[in-house]
Subunit: 361 residues, 2 copies
């Protein structure tokens, strides 16, 4: 097998097949700071096991490639999916150029230290020539499969996400001498929006998160609100991020008026829902059933590199394996050993089925 | 007049009188960062005008001294009333020893650079030998006098204050993959306490402030809650800080339980209410009425050096002058020129009355 690094820093291992049409198996090795051991090691190491098995079987009918995407988490600079969005052409170098880490280091210089030129990162797109399918295994990172007592699921696609910075501006006054009813308190306004945002998400069956994680660190002097939901109902259980944001915006204006504050919203980024490929969903369903007896279909609330492959028009599907206590981005992130084994076996079955599907045209 | 700096960095100007018993007029020249022009310049400059008038009249029957207290605001290290609490002996050097500013500089070293030895700061107490009264003029820093359309007021004393750091601990999880009802969200718990704290203060007629100003800067990784209120009802309108804190603590425990979080309270400091001297309150009332026709009596929600003098057993009173829009600790802090003039005239009358009162034994 040949191994190469592309202009975005993605690492590719290629097992040449009879055809140049390629089945990609992907994932990432980076994690958030103080994160867990499975997001995203499991997907790359699982894919490596599949490649080992395929290589031992002799040349496959189509080419099979393993990709370790660069900087999926985007933890240091606050933008995720660097490598896969470079490959899919959705990366806008202008949006990345001005990013700085917590110490003030600029993204283009840090990339250059690692041999990556931001301007040419999208040349990684050449790697997708001939790509006919993309497969990715990932821990669920949520509590749904544990609640259902199921080890594995087929992922229908990734939810849409919107991230906004919401700033309430009040008036500075003396904390001791200013009666409560004379205050213009941006902290109280923010507290109200945190709770209203939760009510909106609960009513919509979506999720919303304010001022935590990456966002809070990047916007230390501001208040960061991440509204994360699908932007239109594409399947049962999908979420309406744009609708949530619209409702949140209206709510924030009412709160600002009542609290004597100003409010401003600044869109950080917006990603539409990425539905996966119907035929690959069927194949994944078969692979899961053959491995553990029962399958389940669910959308992903978390973003993944697979969303970029779907947006690039490559037939894509993902497998989820149960996360204990639903924990991820946390050192306590874990999955039962027998479930990890089953997940790699299911990925292996899915790879064989996908190779056959691609080979059959 | 002689001028000297004491071991706490307080600046004293002394106009010797026939008796060594002394009337003190005090204030401070420091301000918060990005603060206004009157807190605390007005009190020192007003006192200077009074001393000029007295000096021109020839030696007074008792000694009169002007003091500019060191670091009243405590903005850099987060503890106020440094100079006056050193003089009153309420300063605990051990509590100040570990303080650091935002850049990490330690308070004892910064004091040493300015010729002050933390260990000996309380030797400033010798300056209070013979002190028979303490007078202080200050802007109101709140909106009460403007609402009443009155220029001046007599201050009955300062409210008690408690400051706590409240920490909610939840569980880190993936913001996209974790349904709202499975979260243990410390941000939501904090938001609820912000709003419950406001309700508690409104019901009690007191004030509470969460995570703003100095406190927020000092506890960047924590949540700071300043509960500010009198700790027992000592006069109509006085506030019950300890009661507010007790209610807030109970409330936070209920919120923590409902949100699946832990909560911990850490007392930062606690100051009891400091009532001023009944006879000096009467004299101040006369001085205000003679100057502007109408007087008003009110407690102070803000802390002042006068509170330290009252705690040292020195008969104390303060005058308030109206603040426009109730703004203070803000560059827009302002007071009408005619009100400033009236306030210094009232301080002058109060000084004469107090000198006569002290001289009469």
């Amino acid at each position: 097998m040949s191994v190469e690094t592309d202009p975005a820093g993605n690492l590719w291992a290629t097992l040449p097949g009879a055809s140049e049409r390629a089945v990609l198996i992907g994932g990432h090795l980076d994690s958030v700071s103080n994160g867990g051991w499975l997001d995203g090691c499991l997907n790359v190491l699982g894919g490596l096991e599949v490649l080992r098995r395929l290589a031992a079987d002799g040349p496959p009918p189509v080419t099979v490639r393993l990709v370790d995407w660069a900087d999926e988490e985007g933890f240091r600079f606050g933008r995720s999916l660097f490598g896969s969005s470079a490959a899919s052409q959705s990366l806008d170098p202008e949006l990345f150029r001005g990013l700085r880490d917590a110490s003030g280091a600029a993204l283009p210089e840090v990339l250059a230290e690692h041999g990556i030129d931001l301007v040419h990162a999208r040349d990684a797109g050449r790697q997708l020539t001939g790509a006919a399918a993309y497969l990715e295994l990932h821990i669920e990172q949520g509590p749904v499969l544990e609640r259902l007592d199921l080890p594995l699921a087929v992922v229908l696609g990734t939810y849409g996400v919107e991230r906004h910075v919401v700033r309430f501006s009040g008036e500075r006054a003396h904390v001791g001498a200013t009666p409560m009813d004379m205050r213009r308190d941006s902290v109280a306004a923010t507290a109200r929006l945190v709770l209203e945002g939760r009510r909106i998400a609960q009513a919509a069956g979506s999720v919303t998160t304010v001022g935590t994680g990456r966002d809070a660190r990047r916007h230390r002097d501001r208040r960061g609100a991440a509204l994360r939901a699908g932007d239109r109902p594409a399947a049962p259980g999908w979420r309406d991020a744009a609708g949530d944001a619209r409702r949140g915006r209206g709510c924030s204006r009412r709160i600002a008026e009542e609290e004597g504050c100003e409010v401003a919203w600044e869109l950080q980024w917006r990603i539409p829902p990425r539905p996966f490929h119907p035929q690959l969903i069927e194949l994944a369903d078969e692979a899961v059933r053959e491995t553990v007896g029962t399958s389940h279909r669910m959308p992903s609330g978390a973003l993944h590199d697979a969303a970029e492959m779907a947006s690039a028009g490559i037939p894509t599907v993902m497998l989820f394996v149960q996360s204990l206590r639903g924990l991820s981005h946390n050192p306590e992130e874990d999955t039962r050993t027998e479930h990890i084994v089953a997940s790699v076996e299911a990925l292996d079955r899915l790879a064989s089925k996908t190779i056959a599907w691609v080979a059959s045209g």
